[in-house]
């Protein structure tokens, strides 16, 4: 399974990668993008199965990234890992096509619970 982590924070990309590896027993191929535009390019070329994106990023937010993925009809599942996550934001993420929204701070258990069903 190929997972693309999108976050403008280097430390958060590292934390998500580490927690993901601990949470999921399957071998994963993990790549990172620092913003939405870079992510779109990598989705096109690397073709991940899953994109894990932050919400609050400069230039392009996570929700805008999900909307672009939908608009371009790219075949990839997307989940949000974000500090934010009010009921209204969760609904907006769901409407945009996000599979799940995980709050920061997160635990391996929360990540496993969200991603587990997607592992082939």
């Amino acid at each position: 399974m190929k997972v693309l982590i999108v976050d403008d924070s280097k430390i958060m990309r590292r934390l998500v990668r580490k927690t993901l590896t601990a949470a999921v027993p399957t071998e994963l191929a993990v790549e990172e993008a620092t913003n939405g535009l870079e992510a779109l390019s990598m989705i096109d070329t690397w073709k991940p199965d899953l994109v894990l994106t932050d919400w609050n990023m400069p230039e392009m937010t996570g929700i805008e990234l999900i909307e672009m993925i939908k608009e371009k009809a790219l075949n990839v599942k997307v989940g949000l890992i974000t500090s934010q996550g009010t009921k209204a934001m969760k609904q907006r993420a769901k409407d945009a096509g996000a599979m799940f929204l995980i709050h920061k701070p997160f635990t391996p258990e929360r990540i496993a619970e969200a991603i587990g069903p997607m592992i082939k």
Binding site: S9, I11, T86, K104
Partner: protein, 160 residues
């Protein structure tokens, strides 16, 4: 935010900080210090704007330079011999206040719907450290081994 006093806001920030410090850093204990336990105001850390309608508040997580380094090392899981860059420290402390603000946003959701968060800003001189802590906008907490000051303020005061 007009209906929310700074004391109430600060209380929510302290609760959010407890959640973040316990979950992210495994801090076994968390205590709000009373005034006699408070030391000089810390200056290193990060603040983040929280916006609701036409109002903005800053919330800040402030500590010593040494503790900023320790927190960054723990998040990056780096060795003591590894040299941290200023960008890495700013990234780590910025993420801490970002997580705290996210928890605050969720805790206040029923009272303040549609609260928006700005981007975290790293600071090395938030207030003049020789001055007493402003009240009622600030409190001090001890999260495990870490001493931290938490501040809620309007953006009209000077920030270093």
């Amino acid at each position: 935010m007009k209906n929310l006093k700074d004391e109430e806001f600060l209380e929510v920030v302290a609760q959010a900080t407890e959640e973040v410090m316990k979950e992210t850093f495994d801090c076994p204990e968390y205590a709000i210090l009373d005034e006699s336990q408070r030391k000089q105001f810390h200056e290193f850390g990060a603040y983040i704007p929280i916006m609701h309608e036409d109002e903005t508040r800053y919330i800040a997580f402030l500590t010593s330079e040494e503790i900023c380094n320790l927190l960054t090392r723990e998040l990056f899981q780096s060795e003591e011999s590894d040299v941290l860059t200023k960008e890495e420290i700013a990234d780590a402390v910025g993420e801490i206040i970002n997580m705290i603000a996210g928890v605050v946003q969720r805790k206040l959701e029923d009272r303040l719907p549609n609260v928006r968060l700005g981007f975290p800003i790293y600071v090395e001189e938030f207030f003049d450290g020789t001055q007493p802590m402003p009240k009622p906008n600030a409190t001090s907490v001890k999260a495990g081994q870490y001493d931290v000051d938490l501040v809620v303020k309007k953006p009209d005061l000077d920030i270093g």
